[in-house]
Symmetry: C2
Subunit: 457 residues, 2 copies
């Protein structure tokens, strides 16, 4: 008998799951219906700031697979403009509302929940005014692009995390005067403050007005259009407000149906991406996963996790075996010529997890100092005082700096000590690194620090 798979959400996680399931089970064995409430499926949400900034010329470039490819080549019944509004686990069916006002039900044997994340949207006066934009979906990106055609002069970006910084860059590229506001004392809360300060400096270098330790109290509007953002200490005139306040898992639908949700508000799954409910899987920004260093559940919205988790869910419900092993918190971002990367725990997170972290910042270069194009970079390595184990690393530098985080992420994965890391066989040639790669220098300095504190040296 043909089994019926329903997928809720047609982006990275949902469509990866659907494609992988299809690879293993033909249409006679598994019927697949995927519902996507938006107008686009299978696109790179991470590319939206570059679409808005103009580095990416058109919306189509961000779409990795056209809807008809899923239909024609994968025999997946992908329905855009269809929002699932209820999951009934007893009757094993979902209720769907389409954008033309229709309403229907779809039965399932297997269900993949891939509802993504919802942007944090401040409940502030004026937040619904025209000119206030989120950057969550491709539709948001398109709306922002249209807004730019009206030649706005001043933009205020709310939130100085990754998305806020990328949007600040996009606005700078479009020639706007840009202010960025964040309640924290440094941008990039995912970095230690002594590394975040380097990002703040970089933003100022770009001509961005950086307003830290300030909270948005509301938006001023006239004629329904936003005119300014107001903090406790000033009023920032703005033709455009971009909300880049981060996201939380979009798990309300699942929770309402009785699918267990964790303390992060992400849907709980096991390693195979199955929820505690038989036949119900979840993947992507709507789930919580396991942080291998803190050993705590975390919810991290990131395309690469969504793709991997969707693939794992699809392989498993296709009859294979795959597991998502958790994360170490790796992330990377670019703000004009500056590259920022991190993995593992920050100092504060390490303390919270019960470690006694010690940190060392070193400054080095991306290539041999004498080789043309060598750029400066700073790298911070955080180690556990008791064991010398690497707990986290952060990089702020120029071209060629950030991708070094990957070697650190793999070292972290294997619970290496910083002392062990000093012996790692990393690649060296003058166009690629100084003879001691910055990663090795940082490991050495961190190991020396641990030794000193231990009274061994």
């Amino acid at each position: 008998m043909t089994e019926r798979l329903v997928v809720i959400g047609g982006d990275a996680a949902g469509m990866s799951a659907a494609s992988q399931a299809r690879r293993r089970r033909g249409p006679e064995d598994l019927r697949i219906v995927a519902f996507e409430k938006g107008a686009h499926a299978s696109y790179s949400a991470c590319g939206i700031p570059y679409l808005v900034g103009g580095e990416v010329g058109d919306v189509e470039s961000l779409i990795s697979r056209r809807p008809e490819v899923f239909r024609d080549e994968f025999d997946i019944d992908l329905r855009l403009g269809h929002e699932v509004v209820e999951i009934d686990l007893d009757r094993r069916e979902v209720t769907v509302r389409d954008d033309r006002g229709g309403r229907g039900r779809e039965p399932f044997d297997q269900l993949v929940i891939a509802t993504g994340a919802v942007p944090a949207r401040p409940d502030l006066p004026g937040a619904d005014a025209e000119g206030v934009y989120g950057v969550q979906t491709l539709d948001d990106g398109v709306a922002l692009l249209e807004a730019l055609e009206e030649k706005p002069r001043r933009a205020v970006v709310v939130g100085a995390g990754y998305i806020g910084l990328e949007m600040a860059e996009a606005m700078v590229r479009r020639g706007l005067e840009v202010s960025i506001v964040d309640g924290a004392e440094q941008p990039m809360g995912t970095l230690d403050p002594d590394m975040g300060v380097l990002v703040a400096d970089a933003l100022r270098d770009l001509g961005v007005q950086v307003c830290l330790g300030e909270h948005i109290e509301g938006f001023e509007e006239s004629g329904g259009r936003v005119r300014a953002a107001r903090t406790e200490s000033r009023t920032l005139p703005a033709d455009l407000i971009v909300l880049g306040l981060g996201t939380r898992p979009n798990s309300a639908l699942a929770e309402a149906a009785g699918v267990p949700v964790g303390e992060t508000s992400g849907i709980r799954t096991n390693r195979r991406m199955r929820t505690p409910v038989e036949g119900v899987w979840a993947a992507g920004d709507c789930v919580e996963t396991f942080h291998r260093v803190s050993r705590r559940p975390v919810a991290i919205a990131l395309g690469t996790h969504a793709n991997k988790q969707g693939r794992v869910a699809g392989i498993n419900l296709g009859g294979g075996y795959a597991a998502f092993p958790g994360v170490v918190g790796t992330a990377v971002s670019k703000i004009c010529e500056y590259e920022v990367a991190r993995t593992g725990l920050t100092t504060a997170e390490a303390v919270e997890a019960g470690f006694e972290p010690v940190g060392e910042i070193v400054e080095s270069t991306t290539r041999a100092g004498y080789y043309p194009g060598a750029r400066t970079m700073k790298i911070k390595m955080i180690a556990d005082r008791g064991t010398g184990r690497l707990l986290g690393a952060q990089i702020v530098g120029q071209e060629g700096a950030a991708k070094r985080i990957d070697a650190l992420a793999v070292a972290l994965w294997h619970e290496m000590t910083v002392e062990e890391m000093t012996g790692l066989d990393l690649s060296y040639a003058p166009p690629f690194a100084p003879v001691w790669d910055p990663v090795l220098i940082a490991a050495r300095k961190a190991a020396e620090r641990v030794d000193r504190l231990d009274g061994r040296a």
Copy 2:
């Protein structure tokens, strides 16, 4: 009583050892004399091709510490132009010849042998003619620079390994017509042939005449100057010959004294870089080390190993504890806009070590395909058929490709399987990688291949 340390060789390994020993033991405790036969100490030999090619403007740039810094700041008696010609282990002294014809003896309690490598120099007719250059020492580099001032028109590079390719690039940059000759069927014997062929293509793109599967039979000269290189099938006119045939450990001095040398002809040491002879240490290109994947001794001449090993020797003879954990065979090189990297074993080396290797090549991009500046790269991943363990990886691509080898080197270090690697938390953002980093795609393909061969999928 003051102990006496003699260091033979004043480059990376020797001076790292001396500096580290000094850090831990003051001049009253340890007297340090270092003998260097050449005119320069503590320089980047790896930078010579870039000096010759003109990317690096002057010799001084390649010198990391001036001789007077060692003397004045480290209290190390560094003597340039002094060659140690004999080690007497019974009398614990070395015999030294200086470049003004003097001869003397120097007693030691501790000895560091850091004599580096000797270039393979073919025993061929005409190999001693004027116009035939090695690229081993900074003095060689300076000689080549001088030769270039005579505006030679045609260069033949002998040997298509790293150094040969880098010198071919240097000659191209200097506007010469360049031919490169190698007896192997592909350049870069440290890559699999199906990856080496990409390097051959890259060389041809640069306008280099690539002569593979051909052996140099001799050099033609007239008036004592080289005029051509002769292979079994042709005569290549040349105003300049560059020998880039690789090196072997310069261990003759040590061996003559009775310090054990291994099958690679490298000096044998333990993890702490001590030779089997009490109080005698060795480090750098003159030693053999342990390959963590093949579990065999190897001799790999590379500045980064030399620095690490010298540091380890110096810490240990300074009374601390440090160990050199061996290598996984990581290397990287740049030939104009092409980047080449490798780690672990080639397919042939894996077979030799008793594995049954399976390989997958994938083509991807350095950034998200839609992001400006995305460049193509190919990555080959070699896994053990029986266990799925990663055995090696090779990358040929354009800017941003090669440094990815580091994450692979760390994975290899920890004996990860390619299946495990598919879950690695590597950094993702459109300016840095596609949503599936090429490393992850290659791991996935290799894992699928292992599964298929195993009948599991």
